[in-house]
Symmetry: C2
Amino acid sequence: MALNSATAIAHPNIAFIKYWGNSDDGLRLPVNSSISMNLDGLSAKTSVEWDDDLTADEFTLNNEIQSGDSLHRVSRHLDVLRGRLGRQSKAKVASENNFPTGAGIASSAAAFAALTAAGVAAAGKILSERELSTIARLGSGSAARSIPAGFVEWYAADSHEDSYAQSLFPPDHWNLVDVVAVINKGHKAVGSSAGHPSAQSSPLQNARVAGAEERVTRVRGAIQERNFNELATFVELDSNLMHAVMMTSQPPLFYWEPASLKIMSLIREWRAEGLNVCYTLDAGANVHCICVRSDAPIVSSRLNSLSEVLTTLSANVGGGAHVLP
Amino acid sequence: MALNSATAIAHPNIAFIKYWGNSDDGLRLPVNSSISMNLDGLSAKTSVEWDDDLTADEFTLNNEIQSGDSLHRVSRHLDVLRGRLGRQSKAKVASENNFPTGAGIASSAAAFAALTAAGVAAAGKILSERELSTIARLGSGSAARSIPAGFVEWYAADSHEDSYAQSLFPPDHWNLVDVVAVINKGHKAVGSSAGHPSAQSSPLQNARVAGAEERVTRVRGAIQERNFNELATFVELDSNLMHAVMMTSQPPLFYWEPASLKIMSLIREWRAEGLNVCYTLDAGANVHCICVRSDAPIVSSRLNSLSEVLTTLSANVGGGAHVLP
């Protein structure tokens, strides 16, 4: 590796208790705490090289040179890093995702977690995991959760310093698998960053937020005790609550597609039959089917037999963001 | 007609502002006021004959002799009528619907409105429309709205006498059409009567109810001014709010099917293209597409071209419950 450069890998995460709506859009301070698991196998790999000779930041994503909004968002995050690291130089950023971008798998979470970790390492600095998490949050809220390992809680707070994520349990605490039913590889109509400010326009958002801490407590406890039925009840409820808010915002945001609804219904049936599986959907149409590892093959096989499912991706519980040697 | 007998016709209605949840389940006092239009062409036709020689009530629906829950519910409503009319005799009830039962078209609303009107007339009594509406409400909440004509408001209230529906505008006030996309003729999994008590188990119900009077005011005004865009905004929002409550109840109630979601999305697209059409769904999968009469043929034609649509039913604004001469 060249001097002033580093490469980091981070995983996307799937939220069991969702993040939707900010108390401060600029700082991406969430209105409620959330819980997620990192997704092993799926990853963003990002290299940053600080270069005094550059006159502007450069960004390639999956080997395509980026411009416009995509470049601008990365450049703004590099500004944050420059401020924290005391650097003036511009940077070359190269990132690769091994999973479809913008289709309900939180690509921006992995991207900004990896960008943060790589940018800091490339400057030769070591920051605490907590601070890395807060910085990643400024790029994409849920990126805060892709910094620590395993099962993660991200704290709602009134200040930048206090809204960070930390690991609740390591990846090997519970053998859960996220089998993602991919039904739409297209870029979603409204990205999360654009959606968050609309949350408060739903008459249901305050009620969703009011119960979030209770749901966080229940899900944290369910993970601790490896109680799948308890987990399933609150994970599905929380997903439904977030989409209820989205669909009743003005204008309404519908991320569910007909196939999403069909799969949600099947998942409930399969659980009633005895499979340990539940669903959750982020701001996209793909259905994340959370299951115990022993049930993952049958869940995956059944999903792949559906004509609406383009493919499935299976991910174990993943580690945290890390810099490559 | 034999002495002590009468036949009445009543139309189902489609709610623009929904009824979901009671402040008193026994009296079916709703937690919020609602607004609907009656559906001309679709009807329940019910004959009641009070007969001193009968030892038990008899009920045939679409020429099939009923027993069990179906008979029991009619018999309980006959008890209410006997109490009000001061009669002891049992009754023969024969009812016919000209539309599919229990699939998101409020068959029970038309049925209990017609039963009430026929039962009272068969006893030779004349009651006020207001009182007929309160009595019909005891059989099926939304039946209160099928007594008056045209566009109707049903008032939430703390007492039996005060929770009745009345006409806001006659049928010819505005040429709206409900084009019902029938995607499922089967009986729904959970009927409305069983669903109402679950409303309060959703963390979103209080928020839905808190905004209902405002939405009633907006929809009443939109009908008065024949302002379709305003109507569409609040009709779709209110439908989404009710289904949000249903889907977040414990256990969750999902009435939407994949085809429902697909049609909802299409309706929003068609409106964006300039058609005056919006959607609303009751406790069932069928999609009620409310449109102005000039757009009804194209809406109907487009819906019928969808493979998921079994058939469409088109209804103009209907009159109130009435006794046949």
